[in-house]
């Protein structure tokens, strides 16, 4: 039984490996494009990070970021790339749920779902707002 499980574990892991690589490359590409746009649009301005102000609300939510991207706002494009990057480890957890389901390891399906629920709580509940 353990022999069989091993093979499946490694298949899942190798798919995950490519998933992660693609995710990181795509997000880095988008951040780079946004970065070039940012330098062109704001390159000669002066940075202001000494005092903390928080970001404008148009960069906090997923919807607002997507709207910003369609209007070619460089900061929104960067933020989109960062969102994809944040999604890569989350996708790995999500993918594990299906992996454990295929292996019929229901204990770990539940454990993984608990982890997903905590991540979702952090990302979408707006507890910090």
């Amino acid at each position: 039984m353990s022999e069989k499980r091993k093979i499946k574990d490694q298949d899942i892991e190798s798919i995950m490996g490519s998933l992660l690589r693609v995710g990181v490359l795509v997000s880095a590409g988008i951040v780079l494009i946004g970065g070039v746009l940012y330098i062109i649009q704001h390159g000669s301005a002066h940075p202001h990070y000494k005092t903390f102000r928080g970001e404008p609300s148009d960069l906090k939510g997923i919807k607002q970021i997507v709207t910003g991207v369609t209007e070619f706002h460089s900061r929104a494009v960067i933020q989109l790339g960062l969102l994809i990057l944040i999604a890569t480890p989350v996708a790995r957890v999500l993918f594990s749920v299906f992996g454990f389901l295929l292996e019929e390891d229901y204990l770990y399906v539940i454990i993984t779902l608990i982890v997903l629920a905590i991540i979702a709580f952090s990302l979408f509940s707006g507890i910090a707002g």
Partner: protein, 278 residues
């Protein structure tokens, strides 16, 4: 200084941080935050937001290379993720209300711990101490060696490891680092995992933990795209080059040098935190 020059300097600094982080296995976060706060006087909350995202980048980038070797224990990682993600949410929430001076001092203390952990010799000792919890959770496993053998290992003191991971999660959410040093303590020292397994499993967990705390930072507006952009690209580039030269580099002397640098940064962070100049 214009944004163009500022971005360029950050890009180079982040590249060096990513390179050192991957060569020493400590990650870029421990260098990024002191660099941003001490040298560029960036508010520590912006620095944490940018650092967390670079932590995710290095974790996912390294994981893509690790999974091929098939030695990370996904069950241990997933089970302990319950502890680190809960801790991460709590830590990120505390960071919202904690005074920045306190965060700076705590950061310095964690830096000192990381430096000492990175210098410690890690011995590969496979011990067999089967516990009931580990067996019930099916955590015991085996990993393949290069010559095709399978080495079986068991996991000890699961509750202790779980608690330590919760602390690691809080620190990660509070300070914006991967807290790899604390995860290594939990898995090597408490749970007695072989370090090949603990290194790759810890890397997987760092990304998930950082993504969880980033959720809180993002909705608080602590993630500034203009700042995160050069940091993420620089750290990714540095980590990539680091993974290529890792085989050739003299890691031992590098570790000592890095530990000295980190100790210096730690003292600076603590001093600035106490004197209130951060």
């Amino acid at each position: 200084m214009s944004i163009f020059v500022f971005t360029l300097i950050l890009l180079i600094g982040a590249f060096i941080a990513g390179l050192l982080g991957s060569l020493t296995g400590l990650g870029g976060g421990v260098v990024i935050i002191p660099m941003l706060t001490l040298i560029f006087h960036v508010d520590i909350r912006y620095a944490i937001g940018a650092s967390l995202i670079s932590v995710i980048a290095t974790s996912s980038g390294a994981a893509a290379a690790y999974v091929k070797e098939g030695i990370s224990n996904i069950r241990i990682g997933m089970f302990l993720e319950i502890a680190t993600t809960m801790g991460a949410v709590a830590g990120a929430l505390v960071a919202v209300y904690a005074p920045t001076q306190l965060i700076a001092v705590l950061f310095g203390i964690i830096l000192l711990i990381s430096a000492s952990v990175s210098l410690r010799k890690r011995q590969e000792k496979i011990i067999s101490r089967p516990g009931k919890v580990a067996a019930w959770l099916r955590l015991n496993s085996s990993y393949p060696t290069k010559d095709g053998k399978e080495i079986s290992y068991t996991v000890a003191y699961v509750p202790g490891g779980f608690l330590m991971m919760m602390v690691a999660g809080v620190i990660s959410g509070l300070l914006g680092i991967g807290s790899g040093a604390l995860k290594v303590i939990a898995m090597d020292n408490i749970m007695k995992l072989p370090f090949k397994v603990s290194t790759t499993t810890s890397n997987f967990m760092i990304g998930v933990t950082a993504a969880t705390s980033t959720g809180v930072y993002l909705s608080r507006g602590y993630s500034d795209p203009g700042l995160s952009m050069p940091i993420v690209l620089g750290v990714l580039g540095g980590a990539f080059v680091g993974s290529k030269v890792l085989v050739k580099a003299q890691t031992k002397s590098l570790r000592i040098l890095f530990a000295i640098v980190i100790t210096f940064l730690a003292i600076q962070m603590i001093y600035n935190g106490i004197s209130g100049t951060l």
